[in-house]
Amino acid sequence: MPALENEYLLISSLFSPWPEAPHRQPEQLTTYKLRGNNMNINATLIGQSIAFFVFVWFVMKYVWPPLIAALDERKKTIADGLAAAERGQHKQQLGEKAAEKHIKEAKAQASEIMNQAQKRAAEIVEEAKDNAKEEAGRVKTAAEAEIEQEVNRAKEALRQQVASIAMAGAAKVLKREVDEKAHSEIVDDMIAQI
């Protein structure tokens, strides 16, 4: 087991820029070689440099282009998608606005139509009333005319009957046959007077 001796010396020597410290004991001086021993610069340097270029070349050739192409393409896809979404939203807003306008127009139209319909209805009612009145007047007039005709016809019939009755009565009264032809003038006159 390594003992924890000379820890301070050890730690300080690891980072000390001086290879030798004159005041230290000879057996402790072995520690100082640490720094020099593991800092050998050798052909590892060349090997590492070559490997560096080889790997950079490999990455440049086989790793970077496909990855960055995939990333760029996805970026583009996403950007396009976002743009499309924005366009869609914009369109939707426009559509909403248009719909609102349409609805407003439709409402206005509807109310106008209703107004017109009401007006028209009132007109129709008025017209119907007028027509009815007219019709009624016409019917009344016709009926009156008919009545008058009937009355006249009845009067005529009555007059004829009265005349014949009067003629019969007169014939009876005169007990003889009256010459209808000779006296028809007088009879007609009488009928006209009835």
Partner: protein, 288 residues
Amino acid sequence: MSSEGITSSEYIKHHLQNMTYGNHPEGGWMFAQTAEQAKEMGFWAFHVDSLGWSFGLAIVFFFLFRGVAKTATTGVPHGFQNFVEMIVDFVNDSVRGSFSGKNDIVAPLALTVFAWVFLMNLMDLIPVDWLPMAAGWIGATFFGADPHHVFFKVVPSTDPNVTFGMALGVFWLMLYYSVKVKGVDGFFKELAFQPFGKIGMPVNLVLELVSLISKPISLALRLFGNMYAGETIFILIAIMYSAGLATGLFGGVLQLGWAIFHILIITLQAFIFMTLTIVYLDMAHQDH
């Protein structure tokens, strides 16, 4: 490797030593058995653990991301694709924010740097003894090595070779694009005629060269310093486990706290490395 007879300093030394394969002046090409041998190998040596882990992590990263890239759909992403896309998008945003020029290499470069540095730093959160012990056991069982001489450092970004290797890579790219965009004369003018005009050319050159060279150095050292210090603290905490129950429990609490704090550091360091890479390349592309 806290076994009998190891002192704290040996324990730490063991943890901070890379597994080194190199040309030893006496033994030829071999694994270094001691730190001294590793040092004697000089420049022609490789840190097998650093390289192995950094390559391995880079390959893991590459195949994970490549798998997603092959099947990436443009539809709704699921699961791991989501995660990968999040990182790619984050890197892409960083590049767009900081890089004004037009260059197809910068974004993949930034992604590589970020993911790679992050994964390398992430190795710091694995308890410090697990992988070295496993490596020691494997070395002793299959290769007949002395486990005390199997060194294994699992965090590549605590190896200055790794951080400097990456920073140098960035530096070469900076130089290349500076010359490509501005031309040799344009690049020279940028270095020589600022900030004091043509009269102050020597001073300008000194100033600008220092600032140019300090860029990769600071890039590498910042990452290395942060990760090295973090790793060292983990190791120091790990020493406490062998110093009695109370100390060990306290060490456990410390390790948990430091690990949670370290999550922030490793992400931040990866992010800083990436951002500075982007900024430096942006400066290289700016034509005055």
